[in-house]
Amino acid sequence: MEQLFFIIFAGIALIGAVNLLLRRNPLYAALSLLTTMAALTGLYIMLKAYFIAVIQVMIYAGAIVVLFLFVIMLFNIRVVERQTDRRGYLKWLALPFAIILIGQFVYIARLFEGNPTPVGTEVGLTEMVGRKLFTAYLLPFEVTSILILAAIIGAVVLAQKE
C-alpha cells in the first residue's frame, strides 16, 4: 500500500518536473512546477512530516508559484519567449555539471545500505519544529529573519525609485 502511494506521488513529481523543462509556454511550466510541489507534499505526508507538508503548500504553491503566474501574466509572454537565451557555450557547460550531479547522486545512494532508518514520528510535529527552532537553532533562525528583512527593505527601495 505504502509503496503504491510512493510510486504514484513520485511518478507525478517526476512527470511534473520533466514537463516543466519541456514546455515552451512559461505559464504551463509554472503549473507543472505546481504539480511537482503538490506531489512532494504527498511524500512529506507519507513521512509523517505534517508541518513541512502544510508549509510546503502554503509557501511554494500558495505564494511562490502565484508570484510566478503574476509575473508571467503581467508581462507579454510572446516577447519573453522570443528573447530566450540560446547562447551556445551553455550547452557544453551542461554536460560536465550533469556528470558531477549524477556522480553525487550515486555516491549518496550508496550510503544507504538497505532501508534508511526512520527518525521517529515526533520529529515532523509542529511542536518539535518550534522547540528546535527557538533553542538549538535560534541563531541561524534570527540571522535568516534579518536577511529576509533586508530583502524586504531592498524590494521597497527598488520599487520606490521611479
Binding site: 503549473l31 505534517y50 508541518f51 508549509i55 502554503m58 500558495g62 502565484v66 501574466m73 509542529t126
Partner: protein
Amino acid sequence: MDIALEAAIKTAIILFIVLTFLAYLVLFERKILGWIQLRVGPNRVGPWGLLQPLADLLKFIAKEDVTPNTPNKVLFALAPALALVPPLMALAVIPFGSTVELLGRKIALQITDINVGLLYVFALGSLEVYGIILAGWSSNSKYSLLGGLRSAAQMISYELALTLSVAGVLIQAGTLSLSEIVRVQSGYYFGVIPRWHVFWYQPLGFIIFFIAAVAETNRVPFDLPEAESELVAGYHTEYSSIKFAMFFVGEYAAMFVVSALATTLFLGGWTGPGAERVPLLGVLYFSLKTGFFLFVYIWLRGTLPRFRYDQLMQFGWKFLVPMAFVNIFISSALALWR
C-alpha cells in the same frame, strides 16, 4: 481499513449536508435581501419558494455551456474545479460536534483531527487563488483578466491579515488542532461568561479575522473582483452553465468554511450547555453560531456599498495588518504574564 471506511462515510454525509445547505443558503440570502429591501423575495417555486434551489440547479444544468475562443481550453475547464475543491477539502478538519456512540463505536463528529488542522485550512485557502487567476487568464477577455488579477491581489493581501489575526488564538490555546482549540474554550468564567476566545483576550483578533474573512471570500463590501459597473462580472464573465455554478458554489462553500472557522476559533465551536452529554446538541450550537456569521454576511450585503480599489488596499495593508501585529503583541504579553 476500518478507519478509512469510517472517514469515507463521514465525508459523504458531511458533503451531502453541507452542499444541500449551501443551495438553501442562496435562497435564504435572496429572502433576507428581499426583506431588507421591503420585498417578498422568491416565492413562486414551491411553498415559500422552498423548491427554488432545485429549479436553479435544473436551469444551470440545462443551459448551454459556452466556451469562448481561447487557446487554453483545458485551463478554462480546470479553473472552476480549482475554485470549488479547496473549500470543500477544508471541511475535513472542521469539528462539527463532540463524539457520538454508534453501533458500539466512538465516532468523532469531525472527518479527521490532524495536528496541523488550522495550517491545513490556511494552506487550502492559499490555493484558492489559482481557480480565479487561471479563470481570468484562460478566458481570453480583458474583463476576466483584470477581474482575476484584482481578485488575486485582494486575496493575497487579506490572507496575510487573516493568518496573523489567528496567531493570538494559537498563542493562547497552544495547539494547531481545531478540536483541541474547541476543548480549550469549554467551561465558564465566574459561572456565566463562556470561555470563548472572543471574550477572553482575543476580541481584537476576532474583529480582524472577520473583516479579513469577508474580503478573502470576495463578498460585499469587498466584492471588487465582480464590480459590475467596471468589470462586467470579473473573472467569471465568460463562464456559463455548470461551470459558472461551480464558481458560485465555491464562493458559498468558502463563506461556510470561514464562518465555521470563526465559530471554532473564537466562539467555542460546538461547546454550550449540555453539549458534552448530548452530542447532537453540540451540532445544533455549532450550526446556530455558524448560521449567525452567514446571516451577518448577507446583512452586510444588504447594507454596505462597495469600497474603491485603493481604499481596499490601504485598509488592508495600513490598518488591518498593523492591528494584527498589535494583537500578537498583546497576546504574547498576556501569555508571559499568566
